[in-house]
Amino acid sequence: MKTSPFSRTIERLVPLVILTIYSIIALFPVVMILVNSFKSRKAIFGAPFEFPASETFSLIGYETVMERSTFHIYFLNSAIVTFVALILTLFIGAMAAFALAEYDFRGNALMALYLSMGIMIPIRLGTVGILRLMVDLKLVNTLTGLILIYVAQALPLTIFILSQFMRQVPKDLKDAARIDGASEYRIFGLVLPLIRPALGAIGIFTMIPIWNDLWFPLIIAPSGKTATVTLGVQQFLGQFVSDWNAVLSSLTLAMVPILILYILFSRQMIRSITAGAIK
């Protein structure tokens, strides 16, 4: 036998040690912010590595943020933009994916190529043109403008992935419905629930970049009324650089919704990537 029990234990332990160390590296900065946001200014600087105790606990940062900022508006804006863009992307994308997967029409391959070009080319490169278009359409400083851009940005990958899933839907099912006289629109309605897992996965991956985007809110919709959380945090923090309590608590406020969503959906999210890759 080549391997001794000792070297086998090492072989088992080393990976776990490396993973533990890296997990600490991944978590540490985030935990530092969360923990210190609940401490008094003195404790933030005096004992940054300690958890808040009764004498160091303070919510002063949160109070400042609540008083001075319009976070609730930013949250609402982000929620509206993300939600509407998500629904539109999934529905419109599924329709196009269905057409490409289901029908063997002339120019199908060409259309698929045209639509998938956008996967590799960042939409930001068209910013000069987009801003002009938004000015012409009077969509500057509107949430509608942002939504339209995000849908256009998300469609190529959505269509590409969904059409692969649509191809896996059994043909018998659709043919049976056709024999029963169902219209093509009705058949689309039948197929849609069958690819629900794929819709969920794409939904999460469409949502995150939209929620987190800084570029387009900064350029297309920078006004206070239309600012999203990401832009709002960026501007708010710029003003309060020296108020550490406020900075730490606003960072925490901005992180927590995404972290909760991530904890709830991380399993499905990661499974969907790995499932897509194995297939």
Binding site: K2, E11, P15, L16, I18, L19, Y22, S23, I25, P29, V30, I33, F45, P48, F49, G93, M95, F98, Y103, F105, R106, L115, G118, I121, P122, R124, L125, G126, V128, G129, I130, R132, L133, L148, A152, L155, I159, E184, Y185, F188, W211, N212, L214, W215, L218, I219, V233, W244, L251, M255, I258, L259, Y262, S266, R267, I270, I273, T274, A277, I278
Partner: protein
């Protein structure tokens, strides 16, 4: 009769299904992109007039003393940024993926934790690290002291020599989850029979990885490479958050994204210049296109995809 009718009338339902997507994508992405590229051949004369100037904007970008030094520096910095990701992010991602692919409950927990920073906004990450590295707070310094490396600490973000690499490493910290998860997906897709055969032949885990698994995930390595390359040109958010549009200190963290923003919108005393901005964007487009084509023809064609 039936046939000719079918040929002349394109089925309506196909048009209905495709129209919204094609319309939105064309109007809000393709046309603006083409317009931006077109604008790089024009110059704005006054409010509503522009005149065709051929390649003059490009010549200006490459040679004019107001543009050229910035352009070449941003381009070089972008490649440094890319190199840091290729040399640090992707190997760490591969290592973590290889360790995670062994499976087990504990590893699923590690996987979730390590992927977590990826879902946070770059703006938040930028501020978090600015605070952690801030000498005023002393968290990073305190940590380094704890492991006996206190002397290493410096105001890395503030010094022109170290700022770019520091920002790049922060981006690596955030996004290592993406190569990790892609490699992980590829690794767990390898059938057990293949790795078991190697084990039976007496190969160690290390040998099995390099001889059996690594060649099988070469296509994924190519995909990760090209994603890293394209992603670089979206790195604006992090630098804008941490260093502002001027990408300080002394433009040492200036990349194509921040240069594009400054050229387009102007900065301090200089007015924004849409046509020069469009020229910078067009250069980014050409660079990305070159990268994607190189990947498609040099890598994707040669590297065999094994049907597993």
């Amino acid at each position: 009769m039936q046939q000719s009718k079918r040929r002349s009338h394109f089925p309506v339902h196909i048009i209905v299904f495709l129209a919204p997507a094609v319309l939105l994508y064309t109007v809000f992405m393709v046309i603006p992109l083409i317009n931006s590229l077109r604008l790089s051949f024009f110059e704005i004369v006054n409010q509503n007039q522009q005149s065709f100037v051929g390649l003059q904007n490009y010549i200006k970008l490459f040679t004019d003393s107001n543009f050229a030094p910035f352009f070449w520096r941003a381009l070089r910095n972008n490649f440094v940024f890319f190199a840091v990701h290729m040399l640090v992010q992707n190997p760490i991602g591969l290592l973590l993926a290889a360790l995670l692919a062994e499976g087990g409950r504990v590893r699923n927990f590690f996987r979730t934790v390590i992927f977590m920073p990826t879902v946070l906004s770059v703006v938040i990450i930028g501020f978090i690290w600015q605070l952690i590295l801030n000498p005023l707070w002393g968290v990073a310094e305190g940590l380094l002291e704890a492991v006996g490396l206190g002397a290493w600490f410096g105001p890395w973000l503030g010094k022109p020599e170290t700022a770019l690499v520091t920002v790049a490493l922060i981006s690596v910290w955030q996004f290592v989850g993406i190569p990790m998860i892609l490699f992980y997906a590829a690794l767990i897709g390898i059938p057990d029979e293949l790795t078991e055969a190697a084990r039976v032949d007496g190969a160690s885990a290390w040998e099995t990885f390099w001889r059996v698994k690594f060649p099988l995930i070469l296509p994924t390595i190519g995909i990760v490479g090209i994603l890293t390359f394209v992603g670089n040109f979206n790195a604006f958010d992090l630098i804008y958050t941490m260093k502002g549009a001027n990408a300080g200190p002394e433009f040492s963290t200036d990349i194509m994204g921040t240069l594009f923003y400054r050229t387009f919108f102007g900065q301090q005393l200089q007015l924004g210049n849409p046509t020069m901005g469009a020229t910078v964007a067009a250069m980014m487009f050409l660079i990305i296109l070159t990268g994607v084509l190189l990947y498609m023809f040099l890598w994707a064609r040669r590297v065999q995809t094994y049907e597993l």
